[in-house]
Symmetry: C2
Subunit: 196 residues, 2 copies
């Protein structure tokens, strides 16, 4: 199964590379890096990453959408949103981190679905589409094929939750142990929600 990571200018580095680290531990997952037009994409932390054009991505698989500063303007970019919508519709599973859920919400694909986002930007994300059932206190939220997480590091916890749902709890724990990560495995426990 392909893991298609959808990047854009000014994405938050760890939003993408937390889930990538976890998903990369599954031998049958093949990680591929995409963007709207392909070419070099730079994160907010100055990492220049080589991507392919998203329309060349294989159908199916797992779509990963990071958040970050870039989302603030991209929620108004109809071309990007259309490409994201098509990629998300074609995916078997769709995982967003932080304000990545703002982009996904703007496509309409989260309408009437439960979703979350990071706490520092929650009010803005929720304002993007009020038809989404936004969950303010959650480390991550699952609704059908859509997994949305809170800020940055929560993406690591969500992706371990995704691995648990696909391969069982032991596999998730083995990966967490391998990367010496103390997994916050209760998706409803959100210590940052009260600080938003």
């Amino acid at each position: 199964m392909n893991v298609n990571i959808f990047l854009f200018e000014d994405f938050e580095t760890l939003d993408a590379f937390g889930p990538i680290e976890i998903l990369g531990k599954i031998d049958t997952y093949k990680l591929k890096y995409y963007s709207l037009n392909g070419g070099i994409i730079m994160s907010t932390q100055g990492t220049s990453i080589i991507t392919e054009k998203v329309e060349t991505a294989t159908k199916g698989g797992i779509l990963v959408i990071p958040g970050g500063k870039g989302t603030r303007t991209l929620v108004n970019d109809s071309q990007l949103l259309q490409a994201l919508k098509e990629a998300a519709e074609l995916s078997n599973y769709c995982l967003s981190v932080c304000t990545g859920s703002a982009l996904l919400a703007k496509t309409g694909l989260l309408d009437n679905k439960k979703a979350t986002s990071n706490k520092k930007a929650f009010d803005w994300v929720a304002s993007v589409n009020s038809s989404v059932n936004w969950i303010r206190s959650a480390r991550w939220v699952v609704d059908g094929k859509y997994y949305t997480s809170s800020g940055v590091s929560a993406g690591i916890d969500m992706t371990l939750g995704f691995i648990k749902d696909r391969f069982g709890e032991q596999e998730a724990k083995d990966i967490a142990n391998h990367i010496e990560y103390i997994w916050n495995e209760d998706c409803s426990k959100d210590v940052f929600a009260k600080e938003g």
Copy 2:
């Protein structure tokens, strides 16, 4: 101050991008990506990153060395080790994650210094240079300008510890809170040490 990230083929993605996420939150830090010969470097998780030649790096600053599968052969690459040694000697601070400390140990710069590494590979790392005072149970270890951490995720904790040492505890906590990361702030508490 420059943050010079030293990459090589088959580095572990999160080893680099955990610290990068944290260090990128300091406005006065400028993040730059280097490798022995410059050009495109691919992580074990298939991320293609554009780098510059390490000999062009500015003197001083913070050197970041990830670990990963690539280190297993690179401990025998005298050209890479020489370049790493020069970069580390020129740095004000030097932070390694996971088996990155094996490379650093092989340069001789950790001789008679305390250091750690990840638990799954600890015996191998320790065998690379027995003149290092290897600490088996530690989330991370500081000795002078050298910070070495345990596996993958421990690099995030270590880098927050580094921020605390430079800017105070509140700054480290503010960054952890901003990225919704539950910081394991006690460097001596290592729940993975017993599982190695």
